[in-house]
């Protein structure tokens, strides 16, 4: 075989090997499609449970919360009982934020994360968590309320975040 062919063949084998490696050894997970841009307009009134489920979908989907708030990554505190912990947070001496009750704390955590940074997860005053009202996440008021309803029902406390009425955005 001529040298030229041998070198070309060698190059093709190397490229083929990498491509095959990528095809065979990586699981063929399809990345999630981009979240819907249009905010869900609520056609009919939701019950409290439906509203919490609506929040749960946002929590795992458009809200991207589960990306950081998960047990495996360890990059953000667990939110399993945050609706309970919230009441303790706002009375702790190093809390400088403006929330007066637990639900308000959750709301504040989403819209102004740096108001209070959980110790061990970043320097005080600069939370690594993005404000979720802003892009790239961009939740609206109803959606954030839905997430709060989900967090409250998950922690087993009374759900105070009220579902929207029919036709409300």
């Amino acid at each position: 075989m001529s040298n030229f062919l041998r070198v070309v063949l060698f190059g093709l084998v190397v490229i083929g090997a990498y491509a095959a490696f990528a095809a065979v050894f990586t699981p063929s997970i399809k990345p999630e499609p981009p979240p819907a841009e249009e905010t869900v307009s609520v056609a009919a009134a939701m019950t409290q449970e439906e509203f919490a489920r609506f929040g749960e979908r946002l929590y795992h989907g458009k809200g991207q919360c589960a990306l950081c708030h998960n047990a495996a990554g360890g990059r953000a505190p667990s939110l399993d009982a945050v609706a309970i912990n919230a009441a303790r947070r706002i009375i702790s001496p190093d809390y400088k934020g403006g929330a007066k009750d637990a639900a308000a704390y959750l709301y504040e955590s989403m819209t102004a994360p740096s108001a209070y940074v959980v110790p061990g997860y970043g320097a005080a005053g600069t939370s690594p968590m993005p404000g979720v009202r802003k892009e790239p996440i961009g939740l609206n008021e109803t959606e954030m309320r839905g997430v709060i309803a989900f967090l409250q029902s998950r922690a087993g406390v009374t759900v105070t975040a009220a579902p929207p009425k029919a036709g409300e955005q």
Binding site: F21, S28, P31, P34, L67, P136, I137
Partner: protein, 583 residues
């Protein structure tokens, strides 16, 4: 050629901006309204369709081709200038000839770069007109500068090349100056283009609503601009060396005479040393880039390193591992050129062992997908002892150890033909050994401590200690090495050409892997923008906004690599024709 230049320089400035200028003017007409509009919210209908052609694929392919060629034509002049200076410094005319030979190659590649640039531009304007108008509205002035620099670069290239033979003697310095100008222009061009792509990832100079506030410098000097500049520049140096090395390898394999083999062996060696010098600091530049991504947006960082794209880094690890092994293998083969090679042959197997172990640690995935039953058997998603091997500190440890041992191979190579000349040589060597050991202990301890005993948030800190240790080894040992060999005579001429053919395939492997890897990393850089043209400001609402699978990306990159390397082969062939004609 001139036509091409014109089209490069004028199209982006005229076509899209004129569509946009209308908006700006009507805005301005209403009074003191800002000159900049918020990024348009696009709908699926805003993306032109061109029957049958997948717009994303077309742009991706064009961009990839342009990037490879651009990297090549930026890299080769860097290489050529270094070699020319070495030639001036050592007075060895072989370097001058080598530099000149390569500049010819980059001349053809230069026009192809312009061609692919035009193709990229056209595909962007055709398929993503709104995105282009938006970017032009912000970066218009830098695009003019880009065009200007392109003329400077072209001019400098022609003078540099055609003046090579004429500008000798007292003019040689001026010639080196032209080379410097050529590289300065080329590198600035890259920096400007980097500003555009990094702005799309980490936009700056925009207000809270995402509306650009009119300061071009802010937009240019965004979060990732400098890390990207550094990373791409170093990678270019390494890339240029690797391509020249592959060329030399091919010529070596086809050489008929021993003299020819010797020449191309020497050329391959010179090129590969430059490639390795670029390769060693590259992981550090990569860490900086990644750290900046995290600090800009933790969300973007997690998307990069976790989730689906995490697998891409497994592939990257495999390719870089192959690169390191090939580079070491080449150095070990190279030892045989020297008179004292036999002294060091015994060590090779240990170095190989350490490299293999480090490689495996590096390779341990963090997020292996386990079936629920497997996870239960293991007692969780991660194995309690092995899981930390998948984390950053372990990978940092592995890569630093690999770098240190590659450097050791290099030292042994250097010693294969020289004996120390100073009296205190033994203490010097002992000091070197002590530095090596201390650094390795330091790196491993830091890796274990941060890997097993700290929180995720602090794990990155391990890299600082480790990088510092590695750099210290390289710098301190190089200095000692130089001192103990001061005045040392070479133990006879290197036996250039006395290399097994396999070593040449190692050089070819390095060049091919490098090309492929550049493509893959280009994909991930772009993929972490997700469904945004400009992250968090301008959403991608085209049907292609979704992220493709890693395997799909690998296929696109593989086909691209084949096409690109085929064209490069063709260029080499043309250059050979040219050289024969000259002779």
């Amino acid at each position: 050629m001139l036509l091409l230049l014109l089209c490069i320089s004028s199209v982006p400035v005229l076509t899209p901006s004129s569509a946009f200028a209308g908006d700006a003017v009507s805005q301005a007409g209403t009074g003191s309204a800002p000159a900049y509009m918020p990024a348009p919210r696009l709908k699926a209908e805003d993306y032109p369709k061109a029957g049958g052609v997948n717009p994303r694929l077309a742009v991706w392919f064009a961009a990839q081709m342009h990037l490879w060629f651009a990297a090549f034509v930026l890299a080769v002049p860097v290489f050529v200038l270094i070699i020319e200076c070495v030639g001036v410094y050592t007075g060895d005319v072989r370097y001058d000839g080598l530099a000149y030979e390569f500049l010819r190659v980059s001349l053809t590649a230069y026009s192809i770069t312009a061609l692919t640039g035009a193709a990229l531009l056209v595909s962007l304007v055709v398929f993503y007109p709104a995105v282009m108008s938006y970017l032009v509205s912000i970066f218009g002035s830098t695009m003019l500068l880009y065009a200007l620099l392109f003329f400077v670069e072209s001019g400098a290239l022609y003078v540099y090349y055609y003046g090579w033979r004429a500008m000798t003697g007292p003019w040689k310095k001026a010639h080196v100056g032209v080379g410097l100008l050529l590289n300065a222009a080329g590198t600035s061009l890259m920096f400007i283009a980097n500003a555009w792509v990094t702005f799309m990832m980490t936009p700056a100079g925009v207000d809270a609503r995402g509306v650009f506030d009119g300061n071009v410098w802010h937009a240019v000097n965004n979060h990732l601009w400098n890390p990207m500049n550094l990373h791409r520049f170093i990678a270019n140096v390494a890339y240029g060396g690797s391509i020249v090395g592959a060329y030399a390898a091919y010529m070596f394999l086809s050489s008929k005479t021993g003299e020819e083999r010797g020449h191309y062996d020497w050329m391959g060696y010179t090129a590969s040393i430059i490639a390795i010098c670029g390769l060693l600091p590259l992981p550090f530049a990569g860490y900086w880039l990644t750290a900046e991504i995290y600090s800009y947006s933790q969300q973007m960082g997690i998307n990069l390193m976790g989730g689906v794209l995490a697998w891409l880094f497994i592939i990257q690890a495999a390719v870089i591992g192959a690169l390191f092994l090939a580079a070491n293998y080449y150095l070990w083969c190279g030892m045989q050129r020297g008179a004292f090679a036999a002294r060091y042959n015994g060590y090779i197997k240990y170095i190989a062992f350490v490299l293999a172990v480090s490689f495996m640690v590096w390779f341990t995935p963090h997020t292996p997908l386990l079936a629920p039953a497997e996870a239960a058997a293991l007692g969780g998603q991660f194995h309690p002892w092995l899981a930390p091997l998948g984390l950053m500190p372990a990978k940092n440890t592995a890569v630093n150890v690999m770098i240190i041992f590659t450097f050791l191979s290099f030292l042994l190579y250097r010693r294969s033909n020289r004996a120390p000349a100073v009296k205190w040589a033994d203490s010097g060597k002992a000091a070197q050994a002590a530095i090596f050991c201390a650094a390795i202990v330091n790196i491993v301890v830091a890796g274990v401590y941060y890997g097993y005993f700290t929180n995720t948030v602090y794990k990155v800190a391990s890299s600082v200690i480790q990088v510092a240790s590695t750099l210290f080894v390289i710098i301190a040992c190089s200095v000692i090495e130089r001192l103990i060999h001061r005045g040392a005579k070479e133990a006879g001429a290197y036996k250039w050409g006395a290399m097994p053919d396999g070593s040449q395939y190692a050089l070819i492997l390095i060049a091919v892997s490098f090309t492929w890897l550049m493509g893959l990393m280009g994909f991930v850089r772009s993929a972490i923008r997700q469904h945004w043209h400009v992250y968090s400001i301008m959403r991608d609402n085209s049907p292609d906004a979704f992220t493709p699978t890693v395997a799909y990306a690998a296929r696109v990159v593989s086909i691209g690599t084949v096409v690109f390397l085929a064209i490069i082969l063709f260029i080499f062939w043309l250059a050979q024709l040219g050289r024969r004609r000259d002779e």
